[in-house]
């Protein structure tokens, strides 16, 4: 095991310089452009940036919120990384995440009130929900050569509507009046939180998943096969790799990871499933994965950056009176900045 870790640190060190350069360029231009947008809206950019920084990294509460957001972002990013390494583009973490949340809510409904022994069952149900949703796209790709990019995008919208349906129907909490929420999980079934904040023990699953996947990807025969498939499916086929099975496997793993992000959101943060739970997290993860050239460890960093941007978006709403989703401008500009630096360094 120690050999693995040494190998891993070496690789991380070697990769650091280009990634640092990417972040450097990615920071200056997008921030300047975003300042321009703010000025056009008649908002003072400096004050707004100060408020954004204050709300995200300026207090222990803000830092906690950033971490709470970064954990699911990292998982949805990994849900893009693993398929990308095998040559597939999973843009469906959105739908897979909400189906993961659906799995948790459905399992909690089926179990009723049970002891903490229910926690692993809920986690598995969430991962299975996400994997099932991604599996549809995987089967369509392997059996019909239907582009997984298109199918996962369409499945996102179907996933939102499916969740909206069950939250108005079978899984609706009778005590929630007209709100389309699932019944709250009992405290015994929620991840333990730190000192009254929303930081919870489940968030450790994100770095854990990143570490396990990095080892699998770079230090196992399975990972080698996967990367060979991504590099050249023809060559992989001739080398005796079962390419369709690899495709299906990576999609199932990706779905399980996105489902796990849904688990974190429901069992760690919200305590119940809402139609808005985790919406937008899948796309954020997709961007985070591309920012670091689909590196399973470095996505932890890009997820943190995008989480800080997302949390500071709430400051936009409060101090500048702008809709929180305007922060998407900054997020998108950061990725466009990275992408425009050219494909020479992109390892996706």
């Amino acid at each position: 095991m120690s050999v693995f870790t040494v190998g891993l640190t070496l690789r991380v060190k070697r990769d650091f310089k280009p990634i640092a350069q990417r972040f450097g360029v990615a920071a200056v231009l997008p921030v300047a452009l975003f300042a321009l947008f703010l000025m056009l809206a008649g908002v003072a950019p400096i004050d707004t940036f100060a408020a954004m920084l204050q709300s995200s990294v300026g207090s222990s509460y803000g830092i906690g919120e950033v971490l709470v957001r970064a954990a699911p972002f990292a998982l949805t990013a990994l849900a893009a990384v693993i398929p990308a390494r095998a040559g597939l583009l999973n843009v469906g973490a959105e739908g897979q995440l909400v189906c993961g949340g659906l799995g948790v809510a459905a399992m909690a409904f089926a179990l009723g009130d049970v002891s903490p022994a229910g926690i692993p069952l809920l986690i598995v149900a969430g991962m299975a929900g996400g994997a099932a949703w991604a599996g549809i796209a995987g089967v369509l790709r392997t059996k019909l050569q239907l582009s997984e990019t298109i199918s996962t995008l369409l499945l996102n919208y179907i996933g939102y509507l499916l969740v909206a349906h069950v939250l108005q129907g079978p899984l609706k909490d009778p005590a929630s009046f007209n709100w389309p929420y699932s019944a709250p999980l009992s405290d015994a079934l929620r991840f333990a939180t730190l000192l009254g904040s929303r930081v919870n023990v489940g968030m450790l699953l994100a770095p854990l998943a990143a570490g396990v996947l990095a080892v699998l990807l770079f230090r196992t025969y399975w990972g080698l096969n996967l990367r060979v498939t991504g590099g050249n499916p023809q060559a992989a086929r001739r080398a005796g790799i079962n390419v369709p099975r690899t495709y299906l496997t990576v999609m199932l793993i990706a779905g399980a990871l996105a489902g796990l992000a849904g688990v974190l959101q429901v069992m760690g943060v919200e305590g119940r499933l809402r139609p808005t739970s985790g919406v937008g997290f899948g796309y954020a993860g997709f961007l985070a994965a591309w920012m670091v050239g689909h590196h399973p460890i470095w996505v932890l960093l890009s997820a943190l950056l995008l989480a800080a941007i997302a949390v500071s978006g709430d400051a936009l709403q409060i101090t500048a009176g702008l809709p929180a989703s305007s922060i998407n401008i900054l997020t998108a500009l950061v990725l466009l900045g990275v992408l425009a630096r050219g494909r020479a360094q992109s390892r996706g």
Binding site: F37, A41, A84, G87, L88, L89, V91, L140, L144, Q145, L146, S147, T149, I150, S151, L153, L154, L155, N156, Y157, I158, L161, L162, A164, H165, Q168, G169, G230, G231, N232, P233, Y283, F286, L287, W290, G293, L322, P323, S325, S326, I327, N328, I329, L330, T331, A332, L333, L335, L336, L339, A340, R341, G342, R343, S346, R347, G348
Partner: protein, 305 residues
């Protein structure tokens, strides 16, 4: 009964227009070898641009033009990053869509409860009084007529003109185009921007001729549906009409059924148009792959950098 059929099919045509414009735009870009998943964002900016200009000037035609312009502008971002800088087309497209989402929620909020005087339907003389076909095809807003005309025009442009040939060749093998003295980069840039203009026009139809309001993220994936329909259409503009009308038909039918009070969840009913889109892709199966422009293969099948 007949009036219900007329209403559903007429509604199908009207609700297809936005997707049809976007699909035709995406088709032009893809025939030049560029996939633009930013189509969704271009539709959104087109919808807001059209709505804002219509609200300011009272003229929905100026609005539609502005909508097209906004779509073209956002598509230019995609063209710069994906074509000029050579970044991955699919990732760039997603980033462009998210940029469009951010920009439209940024500027769109002040328009949320604004009322506008949108485009009025125009009954075409003689044609609109035909039984059955008249109300279905010939009692629509001008943008819907324009979209119907545009499909054969684009077909003719691609199949019968010198520039259409250059565009198609760029999508099949860009070296050839380069060797006869055209710039593949310029052709692709122009194709993507033209495609963005059409997507913007589609968004404009949605905002100033169909729903007559502005809602954040109001296109609800129609841009992605358009990309799917281009694949369904095997990159043929005339088939793109069929694909778009299938989506619009499903949309219109489920709205009519909901209005009739069918006992199925409205959310599941709303998912039907997306399921139909996925379904038609499954039905056409492998056939479409032979029609795929060669330069797109690298994008869709080896989706790496």
């Amino acid at each position: 009964m007949l009036s219900i059929v007329e209403a559903v099919l007429g509604g199908a045509v009207r609700s297809s227009t936005a997707v049809l414009f976007a699909a035709l735009g995406e088709l032009i870009a893809e025939r030049a070898g560029v996939v633009n998943l930013g189509t969704e964002g271009c539709m959104l900016t087109g919808a807001l641009g059209a709505f804002a200009v219509t609200a300011a000037t009272g003229n929905p035609y100026l609005g539609a033009l502005a909508g097209g312009g906004c779509g073209a502008l956002l598509a230019a971002v995609h063209a710069y990053v994906a074509v000029v800088r050579g970044a991955n087309q699919l990732a760039t497209g997603m980033a462009v869509t998210i940029l469009g989402l951010g920009v439209t929620s940024f500027w769109g909020r002040s328009f949320v409860s604004t009322q506008i005087q949108g485009m009025e339907p125009i009954n075409l003389p003689v044609l609109s009084s035909m039984p059955l076909l008249g109300p279905i095809l010939f009692q629509h807003d001008p943008l819907t007529y324009l979209s119907m005309l545009l499909a054969p025009v684009i077909w003719l442009f691609l199949a019968r003109t010198r520039w259409g040939l250059a565009l198609r060749a760029t999508g099949e093998r860009q070296e050839v185009v380069y060797s006869v003295g055209y710039s593949p980069t310029m052709i692709r840039f122009a194709a993507v921007v033209a495609g963005g203009f059409l997507a913007g026009l589609g968004g404009a139809q949605l905002a100033v001729a169909y729903t007559l309001n502005w809602v954040e993220n109001m296109t609800q994936g129609r841009g992605y549906v358009a990309v799917a329909m281009v694949i369904f259409a095997s990159w043929n503009p005339l088939m793109a009409v069929a694909g778009s009308y299938l989506f619009g038909g499903a949309l219109s039918l489920q709205l009519a059924l909901q209005a009739q009070g069918v006992g199925v969840s409205p959310f599941l009913m709303s998912a039907v148009p997306y399921l139909v889109t996925l379904g038609v892709l499954i039905v056409v199966g492998r056939r479409r792959r032979q029609a795929m422009p060669d330069e797109l293969r690298a994008v869709f099948e080896g989706s790496r950098g």
